[in-house]
Assembly symmetry: C2
């Protein structure tokens, strides 16, 4: 079973290990880990897309482990945990969030297959947010110390990490800037469409509450806006299913949160 070829659909069916963390349990999930075969993984060009040679990737492989599946609602890590690793999502999806002084949850980002998370914990050396699975999810684990050591040797890897972190900076800066509710939601939908690569038919893994929290809106506002977008024939919604009809119309609204790059690439975070 190790070193097998995995594409998104296959991986979704992989079921290693026994039952895992339960919803909301504080218990840290202990899971069977496999060596990962990055060379044959269909996600490499997503998670570490920037010009690694197959030799570089082989070296990377030696430090990467697979972890999962994580049940929907289980935590990958918690706010305050000491920082150990960067994670790459293989299947499923995660949200990262933190709790404010009043105990209210603020969603900081969504992490879809091929995307990395955990970079914000490097500096303070502990996780500044929690990460919870939005569906059954498996991830690759990249132990940070080993990753950093490897990046010291493999210049392509160092460059890749710097670019990914830089990209994440742009994404949060963009979200931080001032936009109306309409603009943020349109931008969000476009970004999800772009990241899932599903074209215009998309499935929102996360509940309205999380979308709202991420976009700093009330769930009711998200609901109403989706209804309005539908009425204006920009899209069709039914619960988690969304079909984007008028992409240009949405782009006009949202300016889209996409980040133009002068090289051709795809991947992301949040």
């Amino acid at each position: 079973m190790p070193n097998q070829v995995l594409d998104k659909r296959q991986a979704a069916r992989v079921n290693i290990g026994e039952s895992l963390g339960m919803k909301g349990s504080r218990k840290v999930v202990n899971i069977t880990r496999l060596r990962q075969a990055c060379r044959t993984c269909s996600l490499v060009e997503l998670c570490l897309p920037m010009g690694l040679t197959s030799d570089d990737i082989q070296q990377l492989e030696s430090i990467v482990k697979v972890k999962g599946p994580l049940e929907k609602g289980a935590h990958l890590f918690r706010e305050g945990d000491s920082f150990q690793a960067i994670f790459a999502v293989r299947t499923g999806a995660l949200k990262t969030y933190s709790l404010d002084a009043d105990g209210r949850e603020h969603v900081l980002g969504f992490h879809l297959p091929g995307e990395l998370l955990g970079f914000d914990a490097i500096y303070p050396r502990y996780n500044r947010c929690s990460a919870m699975a939005l569906a059954d999810t498996s991830v690759c684990v990249l132990p940070f110390n080993q990753l950093a050591d490897l990046a010291q040797k493999v210049s392509g890897l160092q460059a890749t990490i710097l670019r990914l972190m830089s990209k994440n900076l742009s994404i949060s800066a963009n979200l931080a800037t001032d936009h109306t509710a309409e603009e943020r939601l349109a931008g969000f939908l476009l970004s999800i469409a772009q990241r899932t690569g599903e074209g215009s038919e998309l499935r929102l893994v996360m509940p309205r509450r999380d979308i709202a929290s991420y976009l700093r809106l009330a769930t009711e506002t998200v609901s109403r806006l989706l209804a309005r977008f539908q009425q204006e024939e920009l899209l069709e919604v039914h619960r988690k299913r969304v079909r984007l009809i008028d992409l240009d119309g949405l782009r006009d609204l949202g300016g889209s949160f996409e980040i133009a790059d002068r090289t051709r690439q795809r991947s992301g975070y949040q």
Copy 2:
């Protein structure tokens, strides 16, 4: 004149080169550049604070150049410029901003002495924002390719860069989360106080308009809130001069944008 000892006050008086870019001019400023003596610069522990040996710093010195002074209102770089270097502020201050589709300015960050800027341009390979001097300003230039090559050799430098970028991630994520006007302004004031190290007497280099834009508020709201804070005896304001009186009171409001670190450190961005 090169390799002189510079502390903040001395450096502020250094006046190399002739007249520079005029307010708002599109022309790129061409300025005399000096080699920088990082070893004797009082800002090293601010701009690159994380455990570099004096040998590491000497290597760094070989690629760093000083640029300035930049007149108030002059640009260090413009949105769309190709990415060449990371900058460290020596004296003065900068704001980074971008223009939206309607030509309105959005301030993305303020950059005070000892802080670095430019990391967000690594990924897309061009500047995603413009940087303008808020006062007469001089900076150190760290050519990125050389910096990356050096980080490949000097592991302490790679680690430092990763941590700084990670920290910036946390900062923008924090700003992106939902806060009331009151919370954001209180947090902002505390962050400025912390970063300037001036204690409770601080001088806001940036005009109200820029503070408002950064915090996604109207200038009138900033004005009114400052008036209210003063009335509630949290602080005293007179134009650009602010004296923080009740730090704890402000922290209660703002939660402060500070980022706790498990090592002892100071420095930042934005």
